[in-house]
Each structure stands twice: as structure tokens, then as C-alpha cells.
Amino acid sequence: MTNYLIRRFMGMVVVTFLVLTIAFVLVRLAPGDPAALMLGPDATPQDVMDLRASLGLDQPIFVQYLTFVANAAQGDLGRSLFFDNSVTSVLAARAEPTVFLSLFSLIFALVIATPIGIYAAYRRGSALDQSAVTTAMLAASVPSFLTGLIFQRYLATELGWFPASGYGGPDAGFLDRMWHLVLPSITLGIVNSALILRFTRASMLDILGENYVRTARAKGMSERRVVLRHALKNAGIPIITVVGLTFALLVAGAVVTERVFNLPGLGSLVVNAVLRRDYPVIQGTLIVVAILYVFINLLTDLLYLVIDKRVRY
């Protein structure tokens, strides 16, 4: 077990290193000189030379790479070219909406999808099952920017139940900010709930046909206990796996959703950074998201251990 954790940690280090390298190379591959870009068309060649020197861009590429990795290892991801601030502070300032948006949409997806998935599997072929599967397919096929726009139009603008966009202004309190996340979270959650519903249903269907479910019934317990205790725990592993995987979708979805709802999160930050060619920020976001993803994967693998004692690492 300890060995396993050490191995996994080493793996994370390797992945992080690869991500750093890819991020470094990608930015260097992009056309144009960042220094010239920062200074604009009116800069003299001397200005550009000076800025290149101060950014370390005049160093051999190998030295630049080592400096970049060494700095990143100390949590220094460079300075934003657009904001007069370090990349880490820029990312930290924008993290809150994204973190809560991901969290809420995941909770929403789980709360909606798991019970319906379980019930649909239990009543396989019933009207509820069929409509759940159809609705899930529909929900997965409608792009989230469209769902978002529909919500904004009807639930926010016409009915006025929710704020239509933004994050409540600079003075908004925590609850006000979270209130602004309700519609975005549902928008983002719908897509994921479709996926989770189908997975829950499929794995419950498998499990309900197992011999030990028949044994549970033969023991004389209620159907509720058969399904929620004996079957659900076994369906847990595939469900956790898909929840871990949807995290990747959440990050991609956050970019679109934040854009639609005009939220100042990491998603809109990275979109703007791309438009402004703010390479350090793009690099930084890429690294943070990749590390987070690796970490969530580790967490799912550890959860397997807790649920199923047959799993040995």
C-alpha cells in the first residue's frame, strides 16, 4: 500500500514534468515573439532586445527550459504578459467561480442522475426507464451553450428567478456569488448527469442480475435494502470511475459555461489569455488543470480500495 502510494506519487511527478515540457514547447512553437507582442508595433528593436533580456528569452532554449522547470517546481509559473502580476496570483484570483461551478454541477449531476439511474435499472423497460434514457440522450446531445442561453432567456430574463450572468460585482458577498452560479451549474451539470445516469443504470442492470442479489432476496430483506445496500455498493466502482472521468468534461465545459454566463473564472481567463497571447497564463492554466486531473484520478483509485477489498495495489 505504501509502496503503491510512492509509485503513484512518482507517477504524478513524471506526468507533471511531461505537462511542464509540453506547455513549454507549445508556447515556444506559437508564432511571433512574445516581447515584440507585449511592446506593440511602435517598439524599437532596442526595446525589444531589452525586454527579451529581462524575460530571459535571449538565453539558449535549454537554459530557458531549465529555468522554467526550476521556477515551476517552486510554484513560480512566471508573470502574466497582460496583467501586472504573477501567473499564480492571476490563477488564484480566478479559481473560486470555477471550483464552485465544477463542484455544484457535479453535485447536481450526482443528485439527479444516480437515483434515476438506479430506479431506471430496477424498473427496466418501464415507461420511466425509457423516458429517462431518452431524456439523458437528449440532454447529452444539446450543447451546453444552447442550454445556457435557453436558461438565461426563460429562467433569468423572463421569469427573473436567477441572475442572468456575471458574478455579482466586486462587492458581492459569498452567498450572492454562489447564487450567480446556480444556472451555470445546472447548465454544466445536465451534460454530466446524462453520462452518469447511463453509467449508473448500466452498472446497476449488471449487478441486479448477479447471483448474490438473488441471495439477498432469499434472505428475506426488503427490495429497498436489496437494491440500496447489496446492489448499489457493487455498482459503486463503475459509478466512481465515470464521475472521475467527467471531471475532464467539467473543465472543458467550464470554459464554455463561464463564457456564456460571463463568469470571471479560469475558463474565461484562459479564453482571454489565448486571444491576448498571454502565454504564461495559458501555460499556467494548462499545468494546474493537468495536475488537478492527475490528482482526481489518484483519488478515484484510492476510493476503489475503500469500497472493494478485492482491489489490491
Binding site: 448477479e210 438473488r214 432476496r217 428475506g220 455498493k233 472493494d308
Partner: protein, 331 residues
């Protein structure tokens, strides 16, 4: 039903829906089990043995239903209950307490994610009110009774840490802990090695003596029948074709199918030097049974009257067979 009968099945018909039509899986199955006795239900795959046991337990799959028949069960308190008239909640209260079941597949019949102590103790949690410490104590006692070495330690094992024989012992412990009056064992030893099989059969006989329960023992193995059963009911294509005491069945076989079954397998009931004789043909699909006797197309004694329906009739005291013949020569 008489005082010494614990379960009396009369005219049980079970039908399964599928592909838009209903197929009869059991046709007028009748048998009864005496108190403290073992009835073996014998037949080939697809003859309806397992369906019978699931119908008794009230565990037929959603596409199956009891279309006709009565299942009279004598409750521990002396009342006679008609199982087909009970609601789901009442059936559930009988399961595990009055009638328990063990299954053929010890590998997959235990939940892989719960310890065996959990799974056996759950029976007490469901059916008897006692605190966790007492439950644990009773569970360990039960594990000792089914001869699992290091019972207290084994409590916290998961099924995958046990051998097939040990798992079947766990299943038996689980089925027996609430002291049921009827144990339904659906091929409990089929998936086990022959040596382990003998141990499990010994254990079941011992527990039967200690607990005084009746056993409905489902098997296709005539050797196991000879060893375990007091009475035997032979099933073919969803119906009982012969019921008798084990001695009468082996020594005074009345139905040609039973005769064919005994002639086709080696065993102590055979004379030395006899050759094995297979039954020609195969079991007809349930959806297209011939009219009259279902065995007639494969029967060496068949006559034109075999196309008329034939019921179980008494051929000797305590010996029933569904055949127009009075008997066939001993195999």
C-alpha cells in the same frame, strides 16, 4: 394435508413471458415433503427443478408467474399457510426464517463487498432483535457449527479469501442461522470437488439431524440422491413423472423416464456388467411439447394412448407415477 407434512405442492403451474407469448415452465407439479425428511427433486437441465424452488421461495423473476396451483406450508407455530395467497411482505417474513435457500454457485452467491460475518449476521439483524455483540457471538457459533476453522477470525474475511467449499459452508451457515423448518438446496454441491462434495453432504445431514429441518434437495446426480434423499420426485419437461421413497424408486422403478435415467449413469444401483444405455433423443423445448405424455417421443414403451393426457397416479402405496403402464422392469 396431514400432520407430518411440512410442504404440500398441488398442481403448480408456472409460466414465463417472453417474445410476446407465455410458455409453461411447470405443468401441474405436485409433491409433498414430510417433517424432517429430505425430498430430492431430480431431473435434467431445463426440467423445471430450479423454477420450482424459486416459486416456493417467491423469487420468480419478474417475467414469471404462478398461473395455478397451491403451495400449502406448515408454519412453525402449527398454522397452515397458503403461500400463493400471501402478500409480498408476508412472504418476505417467511424467507430466511421459515424457509431458506442455498444455491448452486458458492463463488457468486455471496456478496463480494461484505465480510462473511456481515452477511451471516445480517440474517439475525433482519429477523431477530438482538444487539451487535450477541449477533456476533451467534454468528461465530454458527460458523463453528458448519466447521469453519478459526471461526472468530474468519468472520472478517471476504468471500474471495475463501475456497469454494468454505463459501458453501458460509452459505449453509447463513441459511441455517435462523433455524428454518425447510431448507431448499439447489444443487449445492454441483460446483464443488467430489471430496468437498462429500464433506458438504455430511454436514447437511448432520445439521438436519441437529435442527430437525426438512430439505428439498435439487440435483441431477443420482449418486447424491441415493446418499441424501428419503423420497424422490423425478421431473421431466416441467412436470413430475414419478414420486416415491428412495428405495422404491431405485428398486421398483415405475416410469420409463426414471428407468432410462438410472440406466444411463453408473451407480451402486446397477448390476455388475450392465452397459450404460443413453435415452435416445433430447428434452423437447418447453414451447413445443407433444400432446399427452411429454416423454412419449423418446419412450421405448410408447403406445398411441400416450398422446392422451396422463396424470400422476398411485401405482403402489406411497408410489406415484405419471404413466399409463403399471410399471417397467427394473433397470
Amino acid at each position: 394435508m396431514n400432520e407430518d407434512t411440512i410442504l404440500d405442492v398441488r398442481g403448480l403451474n408456472v409460466r414465463f413471458r417472453g417474445n410476446g407469448r407465455e410458455t409453461a415452465a411447470l405443468r401441474d407439479v405436485s409433491f409433498s415433503i414430510g417433517r424432517g425428511r429430505t425430498l430430492a427433486l431430480v431431473g435434467e437441465s431445463g426440467s423445471g427443478k430450479s423454477v420450482t424452488s424459486l416459486a416456493l421461495m417467491g423469487l420468480l423473476p419478474p417475467n414469471g408467474r404462478i398461473a395455478a396451483g397451491t403451495l400449502a406450508y406448515r408454519h412453525r407455530d402449527g398454522r397452515v399457510l397458503e403461500l400463493t395467497e400471501l402478500g409480498e411482505a408476508e412472504r418476505r417474513r417467511l424467507r430466511g426464517v421459515q424457509m431458506s435457500m442455498i444455491f448452486q454457485e458458492p463463488m457468486s452467491s455471496l456478496n463480494p463487498l461484505f465480510t462473511i460475518g456481515d452477511q451471516i449476521g445480517e440474517m439475525l439483524f433482519l429477523h431477530e432483535s438482538m444487539d451487535a455483540a450477541t449477533r456476533r457471538k451467534r454468528t461465530i457459533e454458527m460458523l463453528e457449527l458448519v466447521e469453519i476453522p478459526g471461526a472468530a477470525r474468519r468472520m472478517d474475511s471476504y468471500p474471495h479469501e475463501l475456497s469454494g467449499g468454505m463459501r458453501q459452508r458460509v452459505m449453509i451457515a447463513m441459511a441455517m442461522i435462523c433455524k428454518p423448518s425447510l431448507l431448499i438446496a439447489d444443487e449445492p454441491t454441483t460446483a464443488l470437488d467430489v471430496t468437498i462434495q462429500a464433506q458438504i453432504l455430511d454436514l447437511m445431514r448432520q445439521l438436519q439431524k441437529d435442527f430437525g429441518m426438512s430439505i428439498l434437495f435439487i440435483t441431477h446426480d443420482m449418486g447424491v440422491v441415493a446418499e441424501m434423499a428419503d423420497d424422490v420426485a423425478v421431473m421431466y419437461a416441467g412436470g413430475v413423472v414419478e414420486q416415491a421413497s428412495v428405495d422404491a424408486l431405485f428398486n421398483d422403478t415405475r416410469h420409463p423416464y426414471t428407468k432410462g435415467l438410472l440406466a444411463s449413469i453408473p451407480g451402486p444401483w446397477r448390476r455388475r456388467g450392465d452397459r450404460l444405455v443413453p435415452i435416445p433423443g433430447s428434452v423437447p423445448p418447453l414451447a413445443s411439447l407433444p400432446p399427452g405424455c411429454a416423454f412419449a417421443p423418446r419412450c421405448g414403451y410408447a403406445e398411441p394412448r400416450c398422446r392422451e393426457p396422463v396424470a400422476l397416479t398411485r401405482k403402489a402405496p406411497e408410489h406415484l407415477a405419471a404413466c399409463i403402464l403399471e410399471g417397467v422392469e427394473a433397470p
